[in-house]
Symmetry: C3
Subunit: 322 residues, 3 copies
């Protein structure tokens, strides 16, 4: 057992995935195993009967401390297609509202013989805290924690890029927009780096690109033209209006003028560049409608692959013990 | 392929039902096929194990943009008895609230490999818009749109009438109350006309009976006595308090005095007339409690048949492709 | 058919359980049968596939007129592990909000071919009212009504005590805290008495211990030291902050000082006494954290046993007809 594995709470002593908390620290083989497994599930989703019995009799709890109907839905579908029983907990209205601590809530749900907790939380690190306290047979999947990580989104982005571009070693990938508030950007950067992506760029106004990014091995650009020039992949990010405290940006129109992806600006990238977005889209803010619906857009395939990737993650962790 | 079928968005080129959007324009054979199929499911609901595997592995999304626990529940039960996976979306709290457009929401859910969308919306026509934009394997069932249509309610009303009265060709059916705001009334009128009902009447105060109804082939009455005289079927409508803007009616007591169905007034109809109501009931407003609970009432059988009719609609559309 | 059985709405003419409304009036054999059945389900919950097909094709409706995510979740898991279809009704937003009566709501849901209603209601007696009006094949399980009863909690407490202490005939059990507002306390007292518990005590300040308790065959204590001395089982109750009207208690700190269970105070009980709590816990109010997490605590096993007890209750009532 190496030091690395001992200190990585996502892996057990054999280096097997037991929780998915972040793409940071995930070995390349683990990521590749998830993507390969997901490829099998993509075909399941095309079948007449879109179900496999891998998680039959298992209980998956969706613990969304922060509301996200879309992400919750993708996990619910993924779990049901694995034949799991799914329990959606409306946490805002539950015992935590009655003063119970997070760890007491988790201990109680674990005592109900939960198998997987899918956790969305506004506080960075909450899924780690939970993973530290669950029994060996219980698994935690991070569905987004604060500004920290959104690893299943990162992995479905990797699936999408691999699907269209095959090999990461020659790729230039640009992540454009509100990087500062984006857990998606962080998860993408870690995964791209681990998979050996030739060049990872972040592109945005100085107010929305955090200072620590150069240390993550990425190149920082403050104009869209430089940032996406000759790129193979352009990942546009949602402008997190609801998270911004106002002073960082003049207006969404101003943002669109400088960084909104239009068909004209997209020509700076390679002619066969693909355009991605984690959704939900603000049409006309971070990306023009013509690009969303255009032939370089792979935004809807991202959603389709996302179900398969979540099926892969849940079926893999459920097969391993701490 | 006839002109009729080309322009009817509910049918494919072979005249098969692919969406249920309205009873308007549904061919008589299609309605009869739905009612015949429902008859089989009524017996399923009487069995010890009330399940059939017809939709196993299919995903049914309940998209209720307008809240209706009762209607949502009937579709959820119907889908689960067909062995489908059901996803309830609390749309008011979801991405649409984050500024995503209706069609982007639908495109995203379609990309998750949805099979059926059950749609309730406060805007008339929303289910049509959705049906125009989904992939050929995806089906839309209208669970009520604005004042326009509530076709599964219309069909379960037809099932109920056929169950008790067998043949439409000799029947007089009166629809009583707030016809103006009632999508149920519209759906009933179209279905009754198509099924060859001898006489369809609408009965209510002038302020609650729309001017275009005579054009739909119905007889309009403004007194209850004339309106239900010698009727075989009396369909009472819910007084849509929450939809009225005040000026149309003096008060619910005033309405009850003139149009509320009491045992005494019911004697104007035929002795074996059945009494229906789509629920939820305002006892003592549109209908007297004694009538609700009386022996001519078939209000609870309507609910029972409603599950079977929704099972029929979903299983039929799921078997056809655009 | 004896008088007793004729007047007990929970039993049919053969003395079989058809509803679970209260532990009051439940025959000792019935309670023992539930606990024995639950013992089998405890082992199901330890299996790889935690499902049995006993309620396949049955519909369980969770009717929570009073919100309780935790209790609703335990019933949802229990029903799903029995392979039932579960429908959660958000009653606050449903037809009752549109002016429909409770009994009309129940009649409608019954007409959808419901098999079991799990009912939580703020009014004492609501589940009885419902049980009086359902069809012979429909079963009602009380999930907590007002201050009256919470019978599945009472039964899971009995299961827990029996698991750790085997025989009730030599036991002293103390129930500590806000007995006045506690339906759990009432359900525990009735079950303990029926099972032949040697001594049942209630312990709390005079303002929180109702005057009628001595008549129930329990001993009343107003100091913790006297109340738990030489006890085998200490059941701590949640301090129902949200139910108290202020005047009954000086403060939660004051309560903790006198009645909060600390490791020091727990020494007054027998050395092998077990400590229970129905949850959710207010750490540092009715019980000290060290006790919650200590080796005498069986609070989490209570939760685990609770799933099995609810599976037992639902599978037993579903097998009987009125």
């Amino acid at each position: 057992m190496s030091m690395r594995q001992r200190h990585n709470p996502q892996l057990n002593g054999n280096g097997e995935l037991i929780h998915l908390l972040s793409t940071e620290g995930l070995p390349r083989d683990t990521i590749t195993h998830i993507l390969d497994t997901a490829a099998n599930f993509v075909s399941v989703n095309d079948r007449e009967v879109k179900k496999v019995p891998l998680l039959r009799g298992k209980s998956v709890f969706n613990l969304f401390f922060e509301n996200s109907t879309r992400t919750r839905t993708t996990f619910e579908i993924a779990a049901k297609r694995l034949s799991a029983d799914v329990i959606n907990l409306d946490i805002a209205r539950s015992s935590t509202a009655k003063g119970e601590t997070l760890l007491d809530t988790i201990a109680n749900l674990s005592a109900m013989a939960a198998d997987i907790f899918v956790v969305r939380h506004s506080e960075s690190g909450a899924p780690y805290l939970i993973a530290q306290h669950v029994a060996p047979h219980v698994h935690v999947v991070n569905a987004g924690d604060g500004r920290h990580a959104h690893p299943t989104q990162g992995l479905l982005d990797m699936y999408t890029i691999r699907h269209y571009k095959r090999d990461f070693s020659n790729l230039t990938v640009a992540i454009v927009g509100d990087v500062l508030h984006s857990r998606v950007a962080r998860s993408d950067i870690h995964a791209l780096t681990t998979l050996g992506c030739a060049e990872v760029r972040v592109v945005g106004p100085k107010t929305l690109v955090p200072a620590d990014l150069a240390a993550m091995g990425v190149r920082v650009f403050h104009t869209l033209e430089e940032g996406i020039r000759d790129c193979d992949v352009v990942i546009t990010l949602r402008l997190q209006n609801e998270r911004m405290s106002g002073a960082l940006l003049p207006s969404s129109q101003e943002f669109f003028k400088s960084f909104g992806l239009t068909p004209e600006k997209l020509r700076w990238a390679k002619p066969d560049a693909i355009v991605m977005h984690p959704g939900p889209i603000n049409r006309g803010v971070e990306i023009d409608s013509t690009v969303v619906d255009g032939k370089q857009s792979v935004i809807l395939p991202q959603v389709t692959f996302g179900i398969a990737v979540r099926m892969a993650v849940m079926s893999i962790v459920a097969g391993n013990e701490a």
